[in-house]
Symmetry: C2
Subunit: 113 residues, 2 copies
DNA sequence: TTCATGGTGTAGACAATCTACGTCATATGG
DNA sequence: CCATATGACGTAGATTGTCTACACCATGAA
């Protein structure tokens, strides 16, 4: 019941960028990526699993990240993602796009003198 | 054919905010609102009619803007929108939300030292 | 045994945007 | 008189991304 009622969709359009940016620090698995983004943003950005994994699969399908199963020490299986070369290019593209959007919106919001 | 293929959806989530902000200057009709946003953003933000009018209806349905048909001088009929009191409150809410998102994303993007 | 935690995942609902149309009226040029 | 451009409003349908709400499996602790 009460199926969706989304009140938390601030992320729209920025999630791919955030994930790509996080992977610059090196390969990481999904949970760790989400945790990193949440910590660095000081809890402002929280990625739900229903957004996280589809996003990772999407990015992988587009060739921007690549995955490998790894079993660390105590049989803990996790899927580690790394940034590909084209992923790095895509990161630059999305960073620019974000910058442009940010500047443009700020211009519109600027109070009239 | 070739129905959607959306490559231009930078606006996602910000359109309501932009419209509300524009109406602070006084009532305006749809076309003029879109034109204002495009000019002030220096052509970075272009609102398609298929986004504009649904957004206006949406905002009106929520009571954030109110509309009135006006026929100016030479039989030019246009629908003028004005910001309501609750719309002004909503503008503040969305401005804050944008600010928070902007800060949070910037934190994540900040290059590692 | 039960429970918490860490990790991956899917199904389905929902909202917002886009492209591609269409309408109507006025003005302009031939 | 007719065609065409322009200004203005609008809808239909597709696509996409995010969300909530689940499920699964393994480990470790009570």
């Amino acid at each position: 019941m009460t199926p969706a009622s989304p009140r938390n969709q601030l992320l729209y359009g920025t999630l791919d960028l955030l994930i790509l940016r996080t992977l610059v620090y090196g390969p990481a698995h999904g949970h760790a990526i989400a945790g990193h983004i949440q910590r660095v943003s000081e809890d402002a950005l929280r990625i739900e699993t229903g957004s996280l994994y589809p996003a990772l699969h999407r990015l992988e399908a587009r060739g921007w990240i690549a995955a490998k199963w790894k079993t660390s020490d105590k049989g803990k299986r996790a899927r580690y993602y790394r940034l590909t070369r084209t992923g790095r290019r895509q990161l630059a593209v999305e960073q620019t796009r974000w910058q442009q959007l940010s500047v443009a919106v700020t211009r519109v919001l600027r109070p009239a003198d």
